[in-house]
């Protein structure tokens, strides 16, 4: 009884995740299944979704610049700036 309910539950979650993944593809978020599920879990734990999205964008920007210029000083400064900056552009669709 309990196991079947659990299985149903799992199925529902899986389906929802599939839907979410499709939505995220449609929106070109560039998130794969794993990062998406991390996002979902974080949201469930009460993280503000918009904050989450802005963090992801910033992290991406930073890691891109890291790849282009592997100079640690610049990179550090950039990240430092990122932390202090409190206005972050809102280009990405909101979750």
């Amino acid at each position: 009884m309990a196991s079947s309910a659990n299985a149903n539950n799992m199925n529902a979650v899986r389906e929802t995740m599939d839907v979410l993944l499709e939505i995220s593809r449609l929106l070109n978020t560039g998130l794969d299944m794993e990062s998406l599920s991390i996002c979902v879990r974080l949201c469930e734990q009460g993280i503000n979704p918009e904050a989450l999205s802005s963090v992801i964008k910033e992290l991406r920007k930073a890691s891109d610049s890291l790849k282009v210029r592997p100079c640690s000083g610049d990179r550090d400064r950039y990240l430092q700036n990122g932390v202090n900056r409190d206005t972050i552009e809102q280009g990405c669709p909101h979750f």
Binding site: T16, E22, V40, E50, L59, F95
Partner: protein
């Protein structure tokens, strides 16, 4: 961050954040400086961000925005899948991961998480019972005062709820709540003690103690339509009071009687609510047999019920508002709220609910399930109508009920009025659910001859038997009138006085739409239609103004005026301030603005949101006035529309379709008013007969007719034709009957053939035949020449010279005979001429004049048809063609026959005469003549047939001379 007292929850979050950073940045080494930086950045962003909490509206807006954007970029497939996916996501069942839908309803989620954790604890009531949901309000209130340290995941949240919100009294093992030890609040115990002491058989029962507040709350919930309660329970659709509920300060029986009183209303509310749900299609549970919802779905909506439900719904909205106010007072704890107080406060509402329920029971619930919609709709309307009149007659005592019912009625009647409106304005009877009392017969096309009679079926419903008669052809106005006495109570009563007008206007409009009206009129009509107010709006406006008028009774006017003046002054000062802000000082402008605003606000009050606000405050729709209201508010609009439509139709028929000309043509040819034309035609036949040639050939007759008509009115010649019907040879014995079977036919084009039907042509033909017979007799008398007889006598006298003495003797009688023949001829001529005169001038001409006059004044097509029929039956009667006076006609025919025989003999010549035959003819004529004179004199003396007077006089004059 000291990790020592991290909860499991925080640890999980920390882990997830790390995962996120690893994934996004791609740095796997947690000890790396960049990783630490990123982690710090992430945490600081999560903790100290500037975003608001997710809210569903905003999300919905962006979802819609994205959809729109995709559409703009014509990514149709993407847009479609976007909509599909988002919808799927929002609707996906997520039993345990409600957190993902956090932006839908955070509160909701928290609650359900709470409950899902406690699912094994066998909670007797689910969340829908609202026992918890409604109680959230006090919890929120208390949240402000009590510092809450309660978060998701904390195990003792439930007990916190129990302590701070409400004790779960619905669970059996509730601990007794503390209460005062004062005698008043322990009445139950005292009573129990007493009973225990006096009755040795008394056995104390298990009881569930509740507080009065809880009872009030459940009462309020019950009345607001919540289905699951502790105190009130639903058993097979009935609301019953739980047996073992007690409060400490009342005895068991006392509480029970109060609660049972409430349960009755709860039952009514529940029943009405279920009806609303059924009609709106919002089914919460499978319906019991005998309800209507099962039929819906595929069928078109039954608008009358929907309107009724809408009215009920509006009432319930206001009722629930009142309930909410009471509940808020209860929560506020600013004043003492007692059950008695609440009931007292609700008394007017409860009375109204009772009225509503009564109306609902008779109007809706008692109707057997397979009744057709038309019966149900009219039954409902009739019930409301009757209820209004009933309550009205009580007078002041039930003003509230009347006002409520009136508003209910005005709402419910809306679909009907809309159907009527659509029909009489656009000529289109739009009634998909078949609820209107008149229905279109689909198989009759508009341009069919029978359109006028057979297109609509009127359903009349007998109130007593609830059965439906399909009145054949009853839709034509005339037959409705005949049904009137029988169907006193059967139709939708309020429409009865104007039913005929509605039918006429509707049919006229439909006909008119199908005629090729002039283009200009059409476009004109279209533009006007945009500004046109619907019948319903007009009705409401009239009702409004009427009710307002009644308020402005002379006593009130002064204060009313003062009030307006005051508000005007107030408004003016406001507007003046506004204007001063813009540096404008213009008092006149200010006053005008103020007046404008005042008017507008008044308007908005009345028509806000398209709602009917039948001024409940006026509460003054009293007795006779309801019918008067209808008479002054609804009927005039229909009447006006009726006059307009039918007038239009009449003008179109007369102008564009030359109705009058066709009627004239009928008279011209059938009633021989076109004397010269028809003379050419019939004399040709008579000549043939005279020459003893056969005239009964269709070709010959038609050629004669065409020749005669074609010369003068070429356009009619194609329409006219003549037929010969085979006649029973027995009837052909008399020479006068030779003409029988001659039938004229005139092809009348649509739509004039609605008026001039084939039935009419048959009557025309009867008159035509009679006229031909008279003409024939007259013609044959007129064409007799004296010379023939003279010649004959000379011949005989010449013979006589050579002849025998017997023949000489015979000379005297021969001269006598000739003389008698002359005399007889003149007498016959007098008779025939009198008859001819009577029929042609006295009857046909004067009746024709009357007819033309009436036709000009005919208001609608039905009336015109009736006038035409009446005209035909009049001339039919007056030409003595009726069955009842057939003996008179027979006498006349005998005389006419005699005339033909006489002229025949005359022409054969003198030699063939016999004294006996002359005697016989004379006596026959005398008999008939005398008979006719006596009969006609009697009729004239009685005075019942004034038109016969001239005929009687002239015949009498002829008779006296004999």
């Amino acid at each position: 961050m000291s990790q020592a007292h991290w909860t499991k929850f925080e640890k999980e979050t920390e882990e997830e954040v790390k995962n996120l950073v690893k994934h996004i940045s791609g740095i796997q080494d947690e000890e790396e400086q960049n990783f630490q930086l990123a982690l710090k950045f992430t945490w600081s962003n999560f903790r100290f961000h500037r975003f608001l909490d997710a809210n569903s509206h905003k999300v919905q807006r962006s979802v819609n925005g994205i959809y729109e954007k995709l559409m703009v970029h014509s990514d149709l497939s993407k847009a479609e899948s976007w909509v599909r996916l988002t919808e799927e996501f929002l609707n996906s069942p997520l039993p345990n991961t409600d957190g993902t839908k956090v932006w839908l309803d955070k509160k909701h989620t928290e609650w359900s998480e709470e409950e899902s954790e406690d699912e094994d604890s066998q909670q007797p009531l689910s969340r829908e019972d609202s026992g918890i949901q409604v109680d959230r309000t006090p919890q929120e209130d208390q949240e402000k005062t009590v510092p809450v340290t309660w978060t998701v995941g904390e195990p003792d949240a439930r007990s916190w709820l129990e302590q701070h919100v409400v004790t779960p009294y619905w669970q059996g093992h509730t601990p007794r709540f503390p209460h005062s030890l004062h005698l008043h609040s322990n009445l139950l115990n005292v009573w129990d003690q007493h009973v225990y002491n006096t009755d040795p058989l008394y056995l104390p029962e298990e009881k569930a103690f509740v507080t009065e507040t809880q009872v009030i709350r459940e009462t309020l919930w019950l009345l607001s339509g919540v289905k699951k309660h502790f105190i009130f329970q639903h058993q097979d659709g009935k609301v019953v009071v739980r047996n073992d509920v007690v409060v400490t300060h009342l005895t068991n029986n006392c509480l029970r009687s109060v609660l049972e009183h409430i349960a009755v209303y709860g039952q009514a509310v529940f029943r009405l609510q279920r009806f609303i749900d059924e009609v709106t299609g919002y089914d919460t549970e499978p319906c019991p047999p005998g309800s209507y919802s099962s039929k819906q779905g595929t069928e078109p909506p039954f608008r009358t019920y929907q309107a009724f439900v809408w009215a009920l719904y509006k009432y319930f909205t206001s009722f629930k508002q009142e309930l909410t106010t009471i509940e808020r007072d209860l929560i506020g704890k600013d004043e003492t709220v007692t059950l008695a107080g609440v009931l007292d406060r609700l008394t007017p509402h409860l009375a109204q609910i009772k009225v509503l329920h009564k109306v609902f029971c008779t109007g809706v619930a008692e109707v057997p399930p397979e009744t057709p919609n038309v019966v149900r709709a009219s039954h409902l309307l009739n019930t409301l109508y009757k209820a209004i009149i009933e309550y009205d007659s009580v007078g002041e005592a039930s003003q509230q009920a009347v006002a409520l019912l009136f508003s209910l009625w005005t709402e419910t009647v809306r679909p009907y009025l809309e159907i009527v409106d659509e029909w009489i304005v656009h000529g289109h009877l739009f009634d998909p659910a078949k609820e209107f009392i008149i229905q279109r017969n689909k198989d009759v096309p508009v341009n069919h001859r029978d359109f006028w009679y057979a297109t609509y079926t009127l359903y009349s419903i007998s109130e007593t038997v609830e059965s439906e008669d399909k009145l054949s052809d009853a839709a034509s106005g005339s037959s409705t009138g005949e049904q009137g006495s029988k169907s006193q109570l059967t139709m939708v009563s309020f429409l009865k006085p104007v039913l005929k007008q509605i039918i006429m206007a509707g049919k006229s409009m439909q006909l008119l739409k199908n005629l090729d009206c002039k283009e200009a009129e059409q476009t004109d009509g279209c533009t006007r239609d945009a500004e046109r107010k619907s019948l319903y709006t007009l009705f409401l406006e009239s009702v409004q103004s009427r009710l307002r008028c009644r308020d402005d009774s002379p006593v009130d006017t002064v204060t009313e005026q003062q009030a307006t003046k005051q508000s005007l002054i107030k408004m003016q000062s406001i507007v003046a301030q506004h204007l001063q802000m813009d540096d404008i000082h213009d008092p006149l402008l200010a006053i005008n603005f103020a007046r404008l605003y005042l008017e507008q606000s008044d308007f908005h009050e009345r028509f806000s949101g398209g709602d009917v606000i039948v001024d409940r405050s006026s509460e003054s729709v009293t007795c006779q006035t309801f019918e008067l209201t209808l008479r002054s508010c609804l009927y005039p609009h229909i009447q006006k529309r009726y006059i307009e439509c039918c007038g239009n139709l009449m003008t179109t028929l007369k102008k564009d379709y030359r109705l009058l000309e066709y009627l004239q043509a009928m008279r011209n040819y059938f009633l021989l008013e076109a004397g010269d034309t028809m003379y050419d035609f019939y004399t040709a036949i008579f000549d043939k007969v005279l020459e003893k040639e056969s005239w009964q050939q269709l070709a010959f007759l038609n050629v004669q007719l065409q020749e005669a008509v074609g010369q003068r009115c070429p356009e009619d010649s194609s329409r006219l034709s003549i037929f010969l019907e085979t006649i029973d040879p027995v009837r052909k014995k008399q020479p006068i009957n030779n003409l029988d079977g001659l039938t004229l036919s005139y092809k009348v084009p649509w739509p004039v053939d609605i008026v001039v039907s084939s039935e009419c042509q048959r009557i025309y033909n009867q008159v035509f035949l009679l006229l031909l017979q008279i003409k024939w007799a007259k013609y044959s008398l007129d064409t007799l020449a004296f010379s023939e007889v003279e010649n004959a006598s000379e011949d005989t006298s010449a013979k006589r010279l050579e002849g025998t003495p017997e023949e000489v003797k015979a000379k005297e009688p021969i001269n006598q005979q000739i003389h008698r023949m002359f005399l007889l001829r003149v007498k016959l001529m007098h008779f025939v001429n009198s008859l001819h005169n009577y029929i042609v001038t006295r009857i046909l001409h004067s009746t024709g004049l009357e007819f033309q006059h009436q036709v000009q004044e005919a208001k609608d097509l039905d009336q015109l048809i009736k006038i035409h029929y009446r005209y035909l039956s009049t001339i039919h009667d007056r030409c003595l063609l009726r069955e009842k006076v057939s003996f008179v006609k027979e006498a006349i025919m005998k005389v006419l026959n005699l005339v033909l025989i006489f002229s025949d003999r005359w022409q054969v010549g003198f030699g063939a005469w016999k004294i006996e035959s002359i005697d016989k003819m004379e006596s026959d004529f005398k008999n008939c003549h005398m008979f006719l004179v006596t009969i006609l004199n009697k009729a004239v003396c009685r005075g019942s047939f004034p038109h016969l007077e001239s005929l009687a006089l002239s015949l009498m004059a002829g008779f006296e001379q004999c």
